[in-house]
Assembly symmetry: C2
Homo-oligomer: 312 residues x 2
């Protein structure tokens, strides 16, 4: 990287600081076809923390039958116990998953909902309302235990079966998740079709209906190259939590080189350039993604990782 | 593509219409290693026009020694004569190039300047002021002939030798190009390092110093994944001319899969989603990029092209 680049030039109306919710270790690795050793996952999370990430989604307590790649959650989670000051949320699908997470001392959990009936059916084998009913006791018990709860909301902009998703439909489920007691939401553009006006329309409507912007994270996919401009649009409306995946890990359903998750490095490049503080060291993070890509046997789809690692 | 996606949701403060200055046939193909047949280039330009593009940079009248890939300019340009209503600018480096372009009836030319001394030296073997002196008679004569002149300005945000490029330095050269008589400028982020605040700071300063925003085009590279968010930032300040390259052709100096130019398809996806009119049919454009990629023997780096062509 040429010294002094990107040049930091703030833009008006953006937050001073953004919290990056790093999903590579969970959302990224869960899609790997070959088994990733537990020790490698633990080292990955430690390296992410060393690069300055403070919220690192660690694993999932879903039934091993559904996500075999994360079947080692019980083994992995205790290996992260030394990471003081780093929030390590874990995904829990139901009460059984919550039991497992609480038994290991997890202090942050996430449930995974859908804004559309089609995806709720495909992913959870339930209607949207049935899935909310399934989450209710999970969220209630987590709150009793003073555990922080994130509610993921998938398919907030488009759905592969249903096409465009109306804003009012997303707002209804978002409010329902908040009413259950979620501390924060993550609005997912699961198939990557969102554009900035749609993002701002959803955020404005949520604000109008009483879902506070500081309880909202955005989770964009780069399938059509839109993730970073959507992120900018969200920051312009006051969002300060952004999900991203180191190296762009994960979410490549149809082509090796196509991407799913927004790469954390591409995000940090933009935020560094905007003078928005993240606490992340881009050089160390890139080195971590290069290191992991070598172990996974294929290059990172992150443009920033590719550019920086080819120049070094 | 799922029907109805992207869903069109306008964002406040954006232009109703954007003119895409398509650079794939010139800026894209000039970097090809193997010779692209003239007939293939002519078909490519015709297909771009069929997809709705109305400004298609066709070729370059630079000396064949420097850009052998475009040595067939005299042969190619007359094959585009049937494209009524399509602007076909051509690059001319000097008076000799202008003579050649005028002899073939070109009505739009472009000169290629640099905001930095290092790149002026590397690319033009001149200082910035010497290059402006070289352009002066070219622009003057073009204006006498009522030929439209675009002034490219490279390295407006960062330079591989000099690092960050101060805004005042870019503004000085931009004003000098306008004073020579250029009708429009194209602000180039040649190494892809710009971020949205930097883009807006440059545009604001140009406006303050009397360079009208409607005379400005933006030319972003996607090296670090920033091109589309920078474009959004430019649109928010009133820019209505955006350079892009079909399929993301061109500008891959160090890795096959890394990209240079913003892909026109990724841009059109965003603009379609924002309800900003371009006149471009995304499906036909994508089909053209897939068709060309097959002939060039490697996949398009455009995320939208990859996503749409894998789903079809």
């Amino acid at each position: 990287m040429t010294e002094g680049l990107p040049m930091a030039v703030p833009a008006p109306g953006l937050p001073a600081r953004v919290r990056i919710h790093e999903v590579g270790a969970r959302d990224g690795l869960q899609n790997e076809k070959t088994v990733v050793p537990t020790a490698l996952k633990a080292e990955f999370v430690h390296r992410l923390a060393d690069a300055g990430l403070t919220t690192i989604e660690a694993t999932s307590f879903v039934h091993p039958k559904w996500v075999p790649q994360l079947a080692d959650a019980e083994e992995l989670f205790p290996q992260l116990a030394d990471l003081d000051g780093v929030a390590l949320p874990v995904l829990v699908p139901n009460e059984r998953g919550l039991d497992r997470a609480l038994a290991l001392g997890a202090r942050r959990i996430a449930v995974f909902g859908s804004a559309t009936e089609s995806f709720a059916r495909a992913n959870l084998n339930r209607t949207v309302d049935e899935s909310l009913a399934m989450f209710a006791p999970v969220v209630a018990r987590a709150r009793e235990e003073k555990v922080h709860v994130r509610g993921y909301l998938s398919m907030c902009f488009g759905d592969p079966w249903e096409g465009p998703v109306p804003v009012r439909q997303v707002v209804r489920v978002a409010k329902a998740l908040m009413d259950l007691g979620c501390d924060e939401l993550s609005l997912g553009d699961t198939i990557g079709v969102a554009t900035p006006g749609h993002v701002q329309a959803l955020l404005a409507q949520l604000d109008e209906e009483g879902v506070p912007t500081d309880a909202i994270g955005v989770h964009f996919h780069d399938t059509y190259g839109q993730a970073l401009s959507n992120t900018l649009a969200a920051l312009q409306l006051g969002v300060t939590t952004v999900d991203a995946s180191a190296g762009g890990l994960g979410g490549c359903p149809y082509a090796k080189s196509a991407t799913g998750n927004l790469a954390t490095e591409d995000l940090v490049w933009m935020l560094d350039g905007l003078g928005v503080e993240t606490g992340v060291d881009l050089g160390r993070l890139t080195a971590t993604s290069v290191w992991l890509a070598e172990r996974l046997g294929r290059p990172s789809p992150s443009r920033t990782v590719r550019a920086l690692s080819h120049k070094e």
